[in-house]
C-alpha cells in the first residue's frame, strides 16, 4: 500500500497494481462476468499510522471524529509535541485491511490541520510502549515480585506496604507478557501509553513535512 498519502498524485501504485491483478478486465464473450473486487475486502491486520499535525485546538477531536464517522476503530492513539513548535505527532494503531487503512490515511490527510500521514506498518521501526502496573504485594511475595520485575527489565517506581508500582517499557507484546506474568499476584490498576513508533535509520518523517 502507499505509505505516503501526501505525495503528489498520491497514486497508490502498489494498491493500483494489486487491484489490476485482482480484477483483470475479462473478455465480454467469456460467459458470466466475475464479481468486481470490493475495495477493503482483504485480510485485516494491525497497522500503525503516524500523523504529523498542526497543534491547533481541536485537532485531536478532528482526528477522532473522522475515524468514528468513517467507521475505523482505533486501537491506540498517542499524541505528543515534536521538536517543531506548533507541530504534534500522533501514533495511531488500528486494525483493518490494507485498502481500508489506506483509505483512513487518505481521509486523515483531507483534514486541513494534518500535515502528513504515513503508514509504517511494513517499515522497519522501533515501537515502544510504556506501562505503569500497580501490583498487589505482601511481605511474603514482595521479593518474588521484585525479582520478576528485575528479570523483565522493569523498574519499581513506587513502593507501598501493600503494593508496588512498576514501570515497564518495550514493544506491546513484551508488556503483554509482563502483565500476564504478574497477573497472579493481583493487578490493582494498569495504565498504558499505547505504542509510539519511529522508523529505524536516518529517515525522518518530520523533516519531510511540508513547512
Amino acid at each position: 500500500m502507499s505509505a505516503d498519502a501526501s505525495s503528489n498524485g498520491v497514486v497508490p501504485e502498489v494498491a493500483a497494481a494489486s487491484a489490476a491483478s485482482t480484477s483483470p478486465a475479462p473478455a465480454r464473450s467469456a460467459g458470466p462476468p466475475p464479481a468486481r473486487a470490493l475495495p477493503g475486502g482483504g485480510e485485516t491486520r494491525r497497522h500503525t499510522l503516524i500523523a504529523i499535525v498542526l497543534d491547533k485546538p481541536g485537532v485531536l477531536n478532528r482526528v477522532a471524529s473522522l475515524m468514528r464517522a468513517r467507521n475505523f476503530n482505533i486501537d491506540s492513539l498517542a499524541v505528543s509535541r515534536t521538536d517543531q513548535p506548533d507541530v504534534s505527532r500522533m501514533t495511531i494503531t488500528l486494525h483493518g485491511d490494507d485498502v481500508a487503512v489506506e483509505q483512513a490515511a487518505k481521509q486523515l490527510y483531507r483534514l486541513i490541520d494534518v500535515l502528513k500521514v504515513q503508514d509504517v506498518t511494513a517499515e522497519s521501526v522501533v515501537a515502544q510502549e510504556l506501562a505503569l502496573v500497580k501490583i498487589r504485594a505482601t511481605d511474603s511475595n514482595r521479593g518474588e515480585i521484585l525479582k520478576l520485575v528485575e528479570l523483565s527489565k522493569g523498574r519499581v517506581v513506587d513502593l507501598a506496604p501493600e503494593s508496588v508500582v512498576v514501570e515497564v517499557t518495550g514493544p506491546e507484546a513484551e508488556i503483554d507478557g509482563f502483565v500476564a506474568l504478574v497477573r497472579s499476584y493481583g493487578i490493582k490498576e494498569i495504565v498504558r501509553t499505547g505504542s509510539v513508533v519511529m522508523s529505524r535509520g536516518s529517515n525522518s518523517i518530520e523533516e519531510a513535512v511540508k513547512r
Binding site: G9, A16, A19, A25, P33, R36, L38, I112
Partner: protein, 624 residues
Amino acid sequence: MTMTKGPTAQPPGPSEARPARRSHVPSDGTANARAVEAARRAMLDDTRPRHRTRIGADVVCEALLLQGVDLFFSYPGGVILPLYDVLGDYPQLRHVLVRHEQGGAHAADGFARVTGQVGVCMGTSGPGATNLVTGIGTAMLDSVPMVAITGNVPSALIGKDAFQEIDINGITLPMTKHNYLVRDANDLPRALAEAFHIARSGRPGPVHVDITKDALQQETSAPHPTHEEVVAGLPGFRPNLDANGRQLKLAAAELATAKRPVILAGHGVLHAEAWDELVAFAEKTQTPVAHTLLGIGAISEDHPLSYGFMGMHGWKHVNRAIQSADLLIAIGMRFDDRVTGNVRTYAPYARIVHVDIDPAEIGKNVAVEVPIVGDAKRVLAALLPLVEPVDPATRADYFAELAEWRRDSEGSSWHGSGAWREGVLSADYVIDRIGELSAHEATYVADVGQNQMWLARYAGFRHPNTHVSSGGLGTMGFSVPAAMGAALGRPDRETWAITGDGGFQMTSQELMTLTADKIPVKIALLDNKKLGMIRQWQEIIYAGNYHSAHLPGPDFAKLADAYGIPAFRARTPAEVDDVIKAAQAVDGPALVWFEIAEEQNIFPMMPAGKGLSDLIEKWGGADE
C-alpha cells in the same frame, strides 16, 4: 411569518442612508414608559457614533468585500447583532433577509452552484446555527463552496450552557471541509481569509466560521492577510492540481486499446470548469459521455457524444453501456451507490481510469486500474495531446449498438409512449414543456424525490451550471431557497424551481423572501398529493404498505396569493403550455401548480442493493 410589510416592502437601496433609529416604546406618559424610554436613551447614547473604531464585525464585512462577495443570506439573532449594527455602513453588501436559516444556507448553495463563487450565509448562535446545519451538510455532500458564519455567545459564557448556546463547532466539525471558532477579533482576518481559500480551492466545500459576540464587538487593527500569507499559513492544505505524468500515459494506453469506452462525467467537471476540455477529449477519442446527476451540463445533451444520465433512475441505455463497457473514464465523480448499485456487479468488463482532485475518492468505492489525482480541467488538458485521435468509423458497430439501445430505452419511457396524450397530466410531460418553453436556457433547480429524477431525465440540459440539485444529501425543501440564490447569482437566466408538494411544504416560508426581495423564481409545483418516491418504494419494495405516503397539502394557489405571488394551475396536458407562459410573463416570482397523476412512478428504477443490470422498468398496471 406574518405579512406585516406586504409584497411592496423593499429593501433599502444601496445608496440610501440607514434609517434613523426609532423608538418602539409607547410614549403614553406613564411612569413605566418614561423609565423604559430613559433606559433606551441611555443605551442609545452609549452606542458608538458613526465615526467609530473598527471592530470585529467590520472585519467580517471587509473580508466579504475583499473576497468579492456582494450578497449574502442571513437571519439576525442576539449574538450576531453586532454585525447587523454595522451592516448599514457597507451599502455594497446586499443582505437578503431569509425567513429561516436553512433557506439562507440553501440559497447560498444555489448561488454558489450557478456562479462558481463562494456562497455566504449567516445566522446567530444556538437555533440559528443548528438551522444552518442541513444546508451546510447539503453543500458538504455535493462539494459546494460555501462560507457559513455564525455568532456565538460571548467567550466568557462558552461552555456555561448560556442562552442560545450550543456546541455548533462540534456539530459542524464532521460535516464541513474545515471550521473555526474565533474568540479574538485579531484572529478574524486570517480565519475568514483561510475560510474562503479553503472553501474554493481544491475540492470545494463548506467552511464554518463561528465568532463569539465579544470578538464581533472587540476593537481591532489586525490587517487582512495577503493570499500568499494565507497559503503559507496552511501547510496542511496543498491540493494536487496537476496529474502525475506516468499515470496520464497509462490512461492514454488504456484508451488506445479500448473498444467500448465510456466517459463518466461528474460534478468535478463543472467545479473545474472543464466542460470545453471534456468535449474536446470526447471528440478526439470518440468516446460517449454519460453523466451523473450532478454532472448534468458537463456536456450539452444535444451533443452527438452525450449519452445521458446514469444510475438508479438513469436511462436504461446508459446503464447498459456502462455494464458492457471495457473502459470507464470517470472524471470528477465518486462512484456513489446511486451510480453503481451493487459494486460487485458494476461494469463487470470494464477497466477504470479515475480522475479526481480528492485522493480519498480514488479506490474508496470501487477498485480502479489507473488512478489520477488532479483538477479535471488540467488533467484533461494534459491528457489530450497524449491520446491518439480515433476515427469514428472504427467505432461504427459500437455506436450503432448504442444508438439502438437509446432508441429502445427512450421510446419505452412514459414520455416516449405519449401517455400524456390520453389526458393524464404526467410529470415528465410538464418537465419536457418547461425545458422547451424556456428554450433550455434557464436555471433549473430540483427538489428531492421523483421531481428531481423527472427533471434530470426530461428537461434537456444544454449548458453547465444550469442544473442545481441536492445529490449527495438528498435534502427535501432544497428547491425554492436554492432557486432564490440561483436567481440572484444568474439574474440573466430565467430560474425555475422544480419541486414536489412534499419538499415545497418544508421551506415554503421563503415565498416571503421571494416577494420581499423581488426575486423572480418561477416555481413548478408537481403536486401528486403524495410523497411520490416514498409511495413508489412502498408500492414496489414494501408490498404496497402505504404508510404516510399520502400527504395532504393546502390550497397552494391561496398560499401563493397570501404571499403576493401570482399562481397558475393546470390539471390537464392541454393547459400546461399556457400556465408556463403565464408564469414566465410575470415580472417577479410566480407559482405554477401542476396537479399531476397521483400514482405515477419513475422508471426505470434500480432497487437499492441491486445492480445496474437489474432495472425495474414497469410495475403492475402503473407502468410506463
